[in-house]
């Protein structure tokens, strides 16, 4: 049973440029992403900046309206804003920047209470004391005291704030939490804290995570399955161990060889020279062709589909 499933999920953003906004351009942020997630599973989503990882998470949650494709959450097809409540009661999100993702004028308790107050499915039926009790419970789960609940976000450290962010996602009792680079803004010692908190919650409550990150080692550590994204599409997907031990796609191979967190505009090892194509361009061939060491003529002509190779799936003509 999958918690969610996407089929050819596509998201295009329209940008208008020029003095009179006369030039319309389309940013192909997601080009037909098909992924799914099982109960209690952690799916790692890796890729360079701008490859559409965050866009995927947000489109899946319905924060951005999708351009094309299908999204199924807990067996129900999501068609429009009417289904938002259904999606949000199953999927919640933890944001990247713990300093920006909490309202500075709301106490932690108010922030945590809000999902219970505004959404019919989570808690409008609960009495005021039951809501408060639930907030206390969540505070305890993420390792904060009741008294700390009366404080404002600026009184907390980055790691504590990220725990509040996790608590806020947790209070809707979701089955899946999308962690959008939850640790990249934190110190290494605090990163461990947050990851172990996530792991504990998973062990206790069977929550699934979509773990979006550009830190390959962290993704390897936390996830059971990995999807590697490049320019709005999945190039390789499979069980973590298989992907790390026998990477099939040249891009994955280069990433694993590099063995370091990805930063924007870095050259990825000696193999990967060349430019990342602009997501504004219409691409015919394989998006990776411009940097691929194993490029053949076919790569320029048609985009390779994601095909099954053993446990893994890969999008490459040469595999």
């Amino acid at each position: 049973m999958n918690i969610w499933e996407t089929e050819n999920l596509t998201k295009h953003f329209t940008v208008r440029r020029g003095l009179l906004k006369q030039h319309q351009q389309v940013v192909h942020a997601l080009n037909g992403v098909s992924l799914h997630q099982g109960v209690g599973e952690t799916l790692g989503l890796v890729g360079e900046s701008g490859c559409g990882k965050s866009t995927f998470g947000r489109t899946l949650m319905g924060l951005y309206p999708k351009t094309a494709g299908r999204v199924l959450v807990a067996g129900r097809e999501i068609t429009g804003p009417a289904d938002t409540d259904h999606v949000l009661s199953h999927i919640q999100m933890v944001f990247q920047d713990p300093y920006a993702s909490l309202n500075p004028r709301m106490t932690v308790r108010q922030s945590l209470l809000e999902p219970l107050t505004v959404r019919a499915t989570t808690g409008t039926s609960l009495s005021e004391t039951a809501k408060q009790a639930k907030v206390d419970d969540i505070l305890e789960q993420v390792g904060l005291s009741k008294a700390q609940g009366e404080r404002y976000p600026h009184e907390f450290s980055g790691g504590q704030r990220q725990r509040i962010g996790i608590g806020r996602a947790l209070i809707s009792s979701p089955q899946c939490i999308i962690c959008d680079e939850p640790i990249s803004a934190l110190d290494v010692s605090i990163q461990v804290q947050i990851v172990s908190l996530l792991e504990r919650l998973q062990a206790e409550q069977g929550i699934s995570y979509v773990f979006i990150s550009h830190d390959l080692n962290m993704v390897r550590y936390v996830s059971q399955r990995i999807a590697v994204m490049y320019l709005g599409g999945v190039v390789e997907e499979g069980p973590t161990q298989a992907v790390y031990e026998t990477p099939l796609h040249p891009y994955t191979q280069a990433l694993i060889k590099l063995n370091a967190p990805l930063a924007p505009h870095m050259t990825i090892g000696p193999v990967l020279t060349g430019e990342v194509p602009s997501p504004l361009a219409d691409l015919w061939g394989c998006p990776f062709a411009s940097r691929c060491p194993e490029k053949i003529a076919q790569c320029e002509e048609a985009k390779p589909p994601l095909v099954v190779r053993g446990e893994q799936k890969v999008a490459c003509w040469r595999r």
Binding site: L102, N103, P104, V118, G143, A147, Y152, R168
Partner: protein, 301 residues
């Protein structure tokens, strides 16, 4: 030993240490700690009280003339002296406070209600709605206030009502622009996206998440707008479009005082001081209010 302890993730001791907790001072308590804000509040309340009961404390009325006692300096009989027509200046100043303060508070109310709502709606919805609404504001901005007032005088007679209407047309524009630009910036904040991801409805995001974060600029604009409105009324009265003689606002009194500034400076000093002290009161209070409403404001330990 210590280095090892630091890296223990979520150790139970680290969780349980938070015991000493003092109840957080609320906005009013924080305001009370700010002496300058209290002084401002005191000034405003004094001015209001004076405006209400002040005229009764003197045997004269604002229109009583006594040419035999014209241009007298301050004395026990006439506390602030008399003007060129022998009218008691104290009564005229406290009576003028009624008009000037009314203008100030009406301007503040217009700013708060129309300006904030208009600006936040334009900023929040963005796109075509924003362009239309702000275009309308730009057009209104382009027409000088004086023109409205003169046109209004054609329809209505000069007086407080027309001043209020003129303020109603013109005085929310700056506020609308400032609130709009704030909301546009806040729309991209991650906590607004987070609120959406929790299913918070649009109106609640606007009023619970965005507007409270604009309180600073709103209060600053308002503390500037109140004195500005009082001065505008003074100017309109000065050119004869405001309140009618013998009624007096601070602006009228100051204008009359200027005529005899050399020979009888007290006639200018009394209304000018009243205007100045009131402005100071509003500024102090507004500043204190902004700090008190900001949870990041310094808390005295």
């Amino acid at each position: 030993m210590r280095a090892v302890d630091d890296f223990l993730p979520l150790a139970p001791t680290a969780v349980a240490t938070e015991t000493a907790y003092r109840p957080r001072p609320n906005a009013w308590q924080r305001l009370k700690e700010n002496k300058l804000a209290l002084v401002g509040l005191f000034i405003i309340i004094c001015m209001l009280l004076l405006a209400i009961v002040g005229p009764w404390l003197s045997p004269y009325t604002y229109a009583d003339q006594n040419l035999a006692q014209a241009n007298q300096g301050p004395s026990s009989e006439h506390w602030f002296g008399t003007d060129t027509l022998g009218r008691d200046l104290y009564v005229r100043v406290v009576y003028g406070a009624r008009i000037s303060l009314a203008v100030g508070f009406v301007a503040a109310a217009i700013n708060l209600v129309i300006g904030v709502i208009y600006g936040s709606v334009a900023g929040f919805f963005g796109g075509k709605v924003d362009r239309l609404m702000m275009g309308f504001v730009d057009i209104l901005y382009g027409i000088p206030l004086l023109l409205y007032v003169i046109l209004l005088m054609v329809v209505l007679s000069p007086g407080l009502t027309s001043i209020f209407i003129a303020l109603g047309i013109a005085y929310w524009l700056t506020m609308a622009r400032i609130v709009r630009s704030q909301i546009v910036t806040l729309k991209n904040e991650e906590y607004v996206l987070a609120a959406r991801s929790m299913g918070v409805p649009a109106w609640r995001i606007l009023f619970r998440h965005m507007l409270p974060n604009c309180v600073g600029p709103i209060i600053i604009t308002m503390t500037l707008a109140i004195p500005e409105a009082i001065f505008t009324e003074a100017f309109l009265s000065f050119i004869g479009l405001g309140v009618n003689a013998p009624m007096a606002s601070w602006g009228v009194l100051a204008a009359e005082g200027i005529n005899s500034m050399r020979s009888y400076p007290f006639q200018l000093i009394a209304p000018a001081l009243a205007i100045g002290i009131t402005m100071l009161g509003f500024t102090f209070f507004g500043d204190g209010l902004r700090n008190a409403l900001d949870p990041k404001g310094e808390v005295k330990r």
